[in-house]
Each structure stands twice: as structure tokens, then as C-alpha cells.
Amino acid sequence: MSQPIAPERTQPAAGRTRGQQALHEMLASNWLATVLAVVLALVLSGVLIAAADKAVQETATYLFARPGDFFGAVWTSVSSAYVALFQGSIVDTSASTLTRMIRPITETMTVSIPLIFAGLGLGIGFRAGLFNIGAQGQIILGAVFAGYVGFTFDLPPVVHVVLAVVAAAIGGGLWAGIAGVLKARTGANEVIVTIMLNNIAVYLVAFLLTTTAFQRGDSNNPISPPLNSNSLFPLLLGSGFRLHAGFLLALATAVGVWWLMNRSTIGFQFRAVGSNPNAARVAGISVNAAYVWVMVVAGALAGLGGAAQVLGTEKVLTAGVAASFGFDAITVALLGRSKPLGTVLAGLLFGALRAGGFAMQARTGTPIDIVLVVQSLIVLFIAAPPLVRALFRLPAAGTEPPVLAVSPSVKEVGL
């Protein structure tokens, strides 16, 4: 066959007014698709919430006799869950003091810190064509390194926390670097290697917490000594809130990542390797070196997420220090389309879902697991814009940037 003939872009139909054109563009935009994806995910999750509600189940038995009862019960169950979610993540409108009112939003910000850090790292990997599934392990290693520096040494203020943060970046970077080096040297698929490294990290931290170097002497529990206070992130809003300086560091890092990817020669390399490794190689870019550095940078960023956990939020190293932030960060990076600003916003959204999820569980008894459903549905809908458009009967986008389309690296070494 000769060259496949590229379908030309559909030009906007002639004869439209400027206003119609603008409306068309807005409807076809990714921004709208994103909002609709979130709405759709909340609606579908609402179905699950309603289905598990006692009142809904009872009214369903006489649905045809008194449908009003049923729909009333559905509305009550879903709306109370989502109101609780909102109150637990943004502003608690039912609270009596200002502190209590604004605490939810600060919790959201606190929870979002590791998500933003790890999401930024994963985003760099995705743009460089690497499927790094290993943020979980990288967060753990970051936390291990930061924690060790934090509770072992006794250093002056500022110096100690800076050193602990640097150690976290090194820990995460080294851990991810293993996958980078193996990819570069042997072509080992980074998806498999990072998944395996996640599991190894889980057992590694569990093992370390049984050793004398890491385990606190006064109990048998797998928990480290409390961190030295000089190694902790300063609190931003005083002792009444958990929000700490890690949040500011995360925002600054996002700006740094933007510069790195869009305004530096390193980012140019990373993007070139991600889009077309062959052309990059022919243009004199060392693709293998780029793979290693992408992984190291991504791991270092995820490691900072670990630092935020151990130096700011938890103040102690446990086996569960990473929670499931590393896996959630994958969805954060995907939702944020691997761009820094998008990742920050997606991190805040998922942070809100998680922070609010606890409040929702406490107040309405809706299990926090529903948050996982919401998150995954959002990403599925984001990944398939035609599905959302079809459901809402929107016009097709002029050009759909292939955000989540197949990356070239997948082709090279199979799974």
C-alpha cells in the first residue's frame, strides 16, 4: 500500500457567526469534556451509593405503588453523601467555629501534597514515553530515606529538614533509577519492573522496621522513632491544622517541572524521546541516558511525596506511610494530562475526594471505597472523550490531542 492518506482536519463549516463558532469550540474543548467526565463519574457512583442505602432498598420494594418515596430516598442518600463529601473536603458549613469551617480545605491540601509530587513525576515519565507504575515504591523509599535522616541525626533547624528532603529525593530517584537502568541496558519493560519494585519496597520497609536501625526500641510494633522536630516541615497555619510547608514546596516544584519540560534542553530531550525515540536517536540524543534520567527525576519527585508524608503529615515512619498515594497518583497524572498545572488541580481534586471521603464515611456511613470508584470512572471517561461526547450529544472535537493514546515505547518491548 502506498502512504495512508491522512484525513484532513475538519474545517469549521462556513457561514457560522463568531458567537456560534466560539460556542462550538467551547463544546468541543477538552476542558468541558473533563468537567462532564467528573459529573458523569459522580452520577454513576451515586447509583452505587443509592443502591446500598437501606431506605432506598426498602422503598424499592413498593416502587410502583409510591415512586415518590423511592426517588425521595435516592435523593436523600446521594445528596447527603455528597454534601458530607463537600463538607469534609472544602468548607464545613455546619461547623460552629471558623477553624472547623476551613479545616476541611486545609486537609484537602495536605492530602494532595504526595499526590501532586508523585503525579508530577509520573507525568514526566508519561511524556517521555515511560509507563512508570512505580510511584508507590518510590514514595516508600523517599519516606525511608527522609525518615532515617529525620530520626537518626540531630542537626540544626533548616539544615536538617533540607537534608531530609534531599535524602528523600535521592531515595526515590535511586529506586526508580533501577527501572531506568534496566530499561536502558537490557530493554526490560518498565511497567513490569516498576510493579515488581513496588512490591519489593513494601516488604523492604516492613523488613527495615524490624531492624534496630529503624525500629523504635520501646515497643515491638513496626514503627520508627518519632522524627526530630528540626527535620519536620513547618506548619503553615499553626498547630490547629496539619497543613505544612510541603504544600508550598509542591507548588514550587510544579513550576519547576513546567520550566524543566517546556523551557529547558533536558525537557526537550525528554519530550523528543517520548514522542519519537528513533528520531531523537538520529538527532544525537542519547535515548538510553534519557530513560535513566527520566526515571531518576520521576522517582526523585515521588520521593519528595514520601518526604511530605513522613516529614509533614505523619511525622513517623510506618509500613503504611505511602497509603495508596502512588497508585492514586497514576490517575492524578492521567487526569492532569501529564501537565504540571493539570496535575496540581487533579491532585487537589483527588485530595478532596480522599479527605472528604473520610468525613462522608463518618457522617453518612458511605464507605470511603466509593472514592476509588469515582476516581477510576473519571479517568476512564477522560480517556475516552468520544464516549462522554456521545452520552451528552456534543459535537466532535476538531482535533483530539491523543493524551492517553498509545505511547511509542509500548511497541518496543512487549509485556
Binding site: 500500500m1 502506498s2 502512504q3 492518506i5 491522512a6 484525513p7 484532513e8 482536519r9 475538519t10 474545517q11 523551557r263 529547558s264 534542553t265 533536558i266 526537550f268 530531550q269 519530550r271 523528543a272 514522542s275 519519537n276 528513533n278 528520531a279 531523537a280 536517536r281 538520529v282 538527532a283 544525537g284 540524543i285 542519547s286
Partner: protein, 525 residues
Amino acid sequence: MKLELRGITKRFGSLVANDHIDLVVESGEIHALLGENGAGKSTLMNVLYGFYDPDDGEILIDDTAVNFDGPGDAMAAGIGMVHQHFMLVPVFTVAENVVLGHEPVRGGGLIDLTEARRRVREISDRFGFDVDPDAKIEDLTVGAQQRVEIIKALSREARVLILDEPTAVLTPQETDELIGIMRQLRDSGTSIVFITHKLREVRAVADRITVIRRGKVVGSASPSAPETELASLMVGRSVDLGVDKAPAQPGEVGLAVRDLTVLDALGVRQLDGISFDVARGEILAIAGVQGNGQTELTEVILGLQKPVVGSVQLDGLELIGRTVKEVLNAGVGFVPEDRTEDGLVADFSIAENLILDRYDQPPFAKGFSLYPSQVRTNAEKRTVEFDVRTGSVDAFASTLSGGNQQKVVLAREMSRPLRLLVASQPTRGLDVGSIEFVHSRIVAERDNGTPVLIVSTELDEVLALADRIVVMYRGQIVGIVPGGTDRDVLGLMMAGVPLVEAREQAAAHHTALGDADIATEEDNS
């Protein structure tokens, strides 16, 4: 079997690939479909083969309208196709490939391999192919793979056989064999649709010729029509197949290649003791059928592959052992053979693509910082200079046509002082206008005193550009001959016949293609 296409139209978005095409293929004839790359030939055949749905028009077999819902239907109707890029599964055996889709089965859905082998042998023997049914496709030569494709079509009792650019990957001698097979098939009653853009082959074998241009049938011709007439019909204006260039004025040696030997992962020699020089102000062309070591040669020069032994010196500087970056910085411009695969980053802007190999050098960068305004200024200058037709330098490279993409690659590689230009397949898939532009830029670079190394599988291009020609076969140099050497001699050399023998043979026999040439000369006289 008579095959007729009426008013076939196929659109991709706003592009009309086939515009009301009518075509009649009579029983037992070789019907050539002639057209440039991108004229819509392959699209038409994919419609005929049931691979694409036509937007309009109908297909008739023996005057009855048929409707194909997928290639399976077309095959059932007796239409077989040999694709330009072979549709063979590389890890399967010949027999498995031949029976795929209509497998003989024993109980339990297990494949009857004995029957499968028998089918292969039966057809293979009938046409004198030497094909082992149990060989794996990936171990076969290109010519053998093509024969497997033909067996595959015939085993489905194809009565119309479509051959899509079948000679692109063959040596002239293999092409001759194929022409023999085509005649044999025709004589046994099979109709053949022969798709090509090579005028000489059409004239050698076709019974009738239909020419298409820009998706439309622009005329038909008899095989005896002169080559220039066919060419102008094909491209829409009278064309001069040559390039205007002054005689070369070679200076001292710029590039010196000595004893290069390259092995692949299995230890097979891809390059075997290659030595040659390129002088400043000279175009040296590497001629040969694809896959005879040309790719490896350019990749070794650029530093993408390491030779086992040998040296490559540029103005006395050893390039072997250096990284690609160091080689590029030594003043080597490189135009890769596959621009979309190796030359451009599709979702980078045109401006970014124009600095792909100099993104970290002044004025585009200082330290780790990029200077977007400099990148842009450069892009605006180069797109004007190289006539890249685009709305904006910020547009993705993927939005450009093939010709404009190639101009971007050339603009990048030729916009700095060069000490060597290496260009592989510089005009593959381009329209005639772009070819002329690219050729003139290459000649201009030579006239600047740069040594130029061209790798091309198109004899026309080699003859148009080269001051000297190196013919490669199976990783070795068969001979180095002056530009303008006789086509038949080059053709024989491309099949591995040494220069002296090639001259004797060319004088003694005429190849099938040579006969066609002579026929033209007789017509003209």
C-alpha cells in the same frame, strides 16, 4: 473472469482519494494501473479487495454487481492481492501463512498440516517456485516472500490477481523472473492488475495501461506508447527526467571509509569489508536493492551502529567510536531514509523539529535554558528558504505533506556549514515538484564543495544525481562505476554480478526491460 469498476469514489475526510474511477479488466490480460505515489492506486485496489468500503460506485464481476463486506468476500469472489508490504506473519511458516483464513482442519479444529504443505507444494511445483512449506517467513528473502504471497493468492483460486508495487523490493533480475511468472499466469487464464509507478516495467509486461492522477483516471495507453508520453500523462505535464547539473569538480578526499564490517545479532554479516572515498564537491551514490547493507552503512557513519572492524574518517578525523552527537557536531548532515520514523517528531512543532539536533547549542540554548524566540526566528527563516508550505511554524510536523516534511528535514540538516552530507532515499514518496527541489538542493550542496553520499534504491535517482556509483550487494561492494553507467550493467551488478561479467552479459542478452527500451527506440526512429 471479467472485472469492472464503475464510478468508484473513496474519500478520507475532505480528501478524495478516488474520484469516480472506471476500470475494466478483461479475462486473461495484464492490466497496468500506472500512477505516481499518492495518486490513489492503492486505495482503489483496497476498495476492490474489500478492505475499504467505497463511498460511491460499484464493482461488477462478469457483469454482475457484487458487494464486498471485507477481504473474505473478495477472496471468495476470486480476487487475490499481493500487497506492497507483504501480508505475511513473520513468525509463522510458509504453510501456515498460505492456509491462514481457510485452514484445512482435522477433528477438534486442529490444522491439517499435511494438507497445508501439500497445497503449498502443489502450486509451488506448478510455477517452478522453490519454496519450503516449513520455512519461517522471517528467514526468507524478499523475493521468496513475494512468491509465498502469490502462492497464498493462488491457493484461494484467485482468478484476478492484484500486484501492488511488486517490484519495489526486487533486483532487476528478480523483477525479470516476476515478469515471467506474470506472463505464465496470464496465459493460464488469470487476469492481473499490475500497480506501479515504474514506466519501463509497465511497457515490458502490460497488455493495457490505465493511468490515474490525483484520484482520477486521466487516460489509457498502449504499452508501445513512448516513455515520455506515459510520464507526462502520469504527472500531468511534460517532465524532464534528468537533473540540470554541471560536471563535478572533485577536490581532495573528504570521507574515507575503510574495511567496514558489521554483524547483526545473529552474527550474519550486514556489511563485509566496505571501502570507498568521497571527494569534496562530488556526489557518490550507493545503488542496490533495499536491504543489502545500505542502512547499516549510513548508521555506522552516523554512529548508530558499531562495526566489528573498519574505520570511517572525515577530513582525517576518525568517526568510529564517537557518539551520534559528536558525529553531527563534526559537520555531518544526515537525511534518514524514513523521515517519519527517524527524521521528525510528529507532535513537535515545525520550529522544534528544525532544531532537533541543535536544540542545546547557541543561539537556541544557553546552559539548560531554551530560547523560544530564537527557535522561532530560525524556523521562520528556514521555512522561507526551503519553501516549506505551512500556515505556522508552531504547527505540528504531522500536519505537513510528505514533500514539506522532507524539506523540513533538509532545511535542518543543510542550514549549517557541512563537511559531509549523507542522504538516504532523499525523495522517496515525494511528488515530482518536490523531487526537483530536493535534487537541486543536493547538487547545490555539492557545488559548495561538500562531499555528498546518497543512498537510493531508485536507479533513476542514482543516475540523475551521481558522479560516481557504488553498487552494493549482500553487504559487499560489487563495483564502483562512473555516473551514467548503462542501466542493464547496473541492474546485473545489483544482483551481485561483477562489473566485467555484467558488461559482457548486458551486451549479450537483453533483459525483458531492456527489450522494452529497445522497442521504444524503434518506435521513436
